[in-house]
């Protein structure tokens, strides 16, 4: 057993998985409350990556900033999370709320429309050329080595920050008043409304938090992989959706675990399976089909109860 390869693949998988988990949380939270698959969520992640890039360059760029790199990083995350949070609230208000009483297909189509709108708006505004975070020069190629295990600074930051955000979200949902309202609304929206909970406000907060997490993931993607472009959210969004389904759509712990499972599956399939680097996506989506066949509700999801 080549432990060096295994450990390096594990780091790669955890890094990817952390980003997928953050995006998957948005899918799960929205589905839990609205029973809506927000297919525009992957493109919110893309917008977050661009916001991070613009904050970086607004502060002087990777080579030209006088501000401490740690502060620049913090501002990039804050900017992307706030920007995407507001975008998410706006999407909910104008693309989904008017369709709450419509047949379920209508908001789904609206979500697809928003996704295409965001991709092409980014193309129109930012152009088709790739943008480069140039992390190589920005935070430097700080790689930590333990034996034959290599982990770069951005990878460490991504895993640590993602876990931190997930812990914060869990505490918020479990212990705060708003979190309780969110759980109530996801359990039974009508009853929550009758109990005096402002359901519209709760839904808006859910979209804000989910989108903010996707924005954070966008900045992480730029820091780790360097290149961002307007179509990057499509396939990443699909994989994050896979993660949400694997974990159990509607389940927050499920989205977190599902994200890491998908990330690790992608890394291990690249490393160990035949033609893994070419067919990694095939293996990931095969995993989705397998989980749906064996446990349709996902690892942490609950089977739907149907009335006789």
């Amino acid at each position: 057993m080549d432990w060096s390869l295994f450990l390096n693949l594990t780091v790669s998988g955890l890094t990817l998985g952390a980003m997928y988990a953050l995006i998957a949380l948005g899918y799960s939270m929205v589905y839990g409350i609205l029973k809506l698959l927000n297919f525009a969520h992957g493109d919110v992640f893309m917008v977050g990556a661009y916001i991070g890039w613009f904050v970086l360059h607004g502060l002087g760029g990777p080579l030209g900033t006088d501000i401490a790199p740690d502060l620049v990083l913090l501002l990039m995350f804050v900017g992307a999370m706030l920007g995407c949070g507001v975008l998410g609230v706006g999407i909910e208000r104008f693309a989904y709320r008017p369709l709450r009483k419509a047949p379920r297909i209508a908001p789904l189509i609206s979500a697809l429309g928003v996704s295409i709108f965001l991709q092409n708006s980014a193309l129109l505004i930012f152009g088709a050329a790739f943008r480069d975070y140039d992390t190589y020069h920005f935070v430097g190629v700080k790689t930590f080595q333990v034996g034959n295990l290599f982990i770069s600074g951005p990878e460490l930051l991504t895993i640590g920050a993602a876990i931190g955000l997930m812990i914060a979200l869990t505490l918020f949902v479990d212990r705060s008043r708003t979190g309780k309202a969110m759980r109530s609304t996801s359990y039974d929206r009508e009853a929550a409304s009758m109990m005096g909970i402002d359901v519209d406000r709760v839904i808006a907060i859910t979209f804000f938090i989910g989108s903010a997490l996707a924005g954070a993931a966008g900045v992480m993607w730029g820091l780790v992989f360097g290149q961002i472009y307007n179509y990057m959210g499509f396939i990443v969004g699909l994989k994050a959706f896979t993660a949400a389904v694997v974990g159990g759509i509607g389940s927050i712990p499920g989205a977190m675990v599902g994200g890491f499972i998908v990330g690790l599956a992608e890394a291990y399939s690249t490393g160990y399976l035949p033609q893994g680097s070419i067919f990694a996506n095939l293996y990931v989506f095969a995993l989705l089909i397998l989980v749906i066949l064996i446990k349709p509700s996902g690892l942490f999801g609950q089977a739907a109860i149907t009335k006789a």
């Binding site: 390869l5 390096n8 693949l9 780091v11 790669s12 998988g13 890094t15 990817l16 152009g127 088709a128 050329a129 790739f130 480069d132 992390t135 190589y136 190629v141 790689t143 080595q145 034959n148 290599f150 770069s152 951005p154 990878e155 993607w221 780790v224 992989f225 360097g226 290149q227 472009y229 179509y231 990057m232 499509f234 396939i235 992608e266 890394a267 291990y268 690249t270 490393g271 033609q275 893994g276 680097s277 070419i278 990694a280 996506n281």
Partner: protein, 397 residues
């Protein structure tokens, strides 16, 4: 009653669809035959301004090399327009967005636009071998010849589907692959090589050639591929053995090549040499490290044209785009010749391109520009090898 209404409506739709289909096929054949027989033979009045189509990745993942081609093509046009009184050349630019997620769809749209513009007499580009595969039928049906300054896949000119229509001012990959393999074996003396293609026709062709030659020499060669849309190479890099001496990566997209190189550094494998191909001939790839090599089109570094261009562009020679100057020169010369009597056809322009004979003192390639029957240059036989020096590539062979 309602069911009967629906049934009648369905029947009406079916009948209408059938009538429409029959009508379209009844008239299609004569029109299509007429279109093919007239493709390229329609008479065009050569006005003061002669229009040449220009298909180039002005934006998108390959924009960094596309912009170089634009600069060189515009440079030729500016020189032509200064020295010719009877006609002026105008480039009709179509952005192909080579490497974009929607494949060659943009290139096809551009080809359709040029084909349907009766004033366009010839085409410079496209840049990518995969784009050429996608636009061949459209341009051929319209009778348009095209001269590419960068597409190198060998089979484009040898499979017989583009004879008389496609020409190029760069050697094919059969030459580039041999150049790369020889340099890897004889100069770098690398015997453990990892080859990664990007699954596009340009890349797999080069990778096949290099792999075959290295294996024949007894080297240890591992081959794999990665999608052009991939950004995370960390898992793939983890698989590359630490004792690998060189990674050969004939990719089209500079941002991906740069990202791969940086991720190799981050994974502690920065000492492994990287070798790209002409698609990666860019300062961004060169800046990855000091062990970066690349093959690129042959040029005459002492050419006064190259020196003048570099002087006009802050010392930047933008060498990837230089063969596009030659391609533009070929098409412009052919169009001018074909328009000698005031009117011409696309077929005459094609014939003039085929008969191109630009002397060496007017060619920045260092050789006369002449084509063989396949559309390859009969005078170009080699590629150059370059090594990174800071953020530039310098010739080493």
């Amino acid at each position: 009653m309602r069911r009967r209404t629906i049934a009648f409506a369905g029947l009406a739709v079916a009948i209408a669809a059938t009538v429409a289909f029959v009508a379209s096929t009844a008239t299609a054949t004569p029109t299509r035959v007429a279109a093919r027989s007239s493709a390229g033979s329609a008479l065009v009045k050569c006005g003061k301004t002669l229009q040449i189509g220009f298909m180039v990745p002005a934006t998108g993942p390959a924009a960094s090399i596309g912009v170089q081609q634009i600069h060189w093509a515009n440079y030729y046009v500016s020189q032509y327009n200064k020295t010719h009184k009877a006609h002026k050349i105008k480039l009709v630019l179509e952005d192909t967005q080579l490497g974009a997620a929607n494949g060659t769809a943009q290139a096809l749209q551009g080809a359709q636009a040029l084909a349907s513009n009766p004033n366009v007499l010839g085409v410079v580009g496209p840049a990518g071998s995969n784009e050429i595969v996608g636009v061949t039928k459209t341009l051929k049906d319209a009778g348009l010849a095209w001269v590419s300054g960068s597409s190198t896949n060998t089979t484009l000119t040898t499979d017989g589907t583009r004879t008389g229509y496609m020409f190029r001012t760069v050697p094919p990959d059969a030459v580039q692959g041999v150049t790369a393999a020889n340099y890897i074996q004889k100069t770098l003396k690398a015997t453990r090589v990892y080859i990664i293609d990007d699954e596009e026709v340009y890349s797999t062709g080069l990778a096949d050639t290099v792999q075959a030659r290295l294996k024949a020499a007894g080297d240890t060669v591992t081959r794999t591929g990665v999608s052009q849309q991939q950004s995370d190479f960390s898992a793939l890099i983890a698989k590359i053995p630490s004792n690998t001496q060189l990674v050969y990566m004939p990719w089209q997209l500079v941002p991906k090549g740069q990202a791969f190189g940086q991720q190799m550094q981050a994974a502690g494998k920065g000492s492994i040499k990287l070798m790209g191909s002409d698609g990666l001939y860019d300062s961004a790839f060169a800046s990855v490290g000091k062990n970066v090599y690349d093959t690129n089109f042959p040029l005459n570094p002492k050419s006064p044209i190259i020196k003048a261009f570099a002087k006009a562009h802050d010392g930047d020679g933008q060498y990837f785009g230089a063969p596009t100057y030659a391609a533009t020169q070929v098409v412009a010369t052919a169009v001018t010749k074909a328009c000698a009597k005031g009117t011409t056809t696309r077929a005459k322009v094609r014939a003039a391109i085929r008969a191109t004979n630009i002397p060496v003192n007017q060619s920045l390639l260092g050789v006369p520009i002449r084509f063989n029957k396949n559309g390859d240059m009969s005078t170009l036989k080699k590629f150059g090898v370059y090594k990174s020096n800071g953020s530039v590539f310098v010739p080493v062979a």
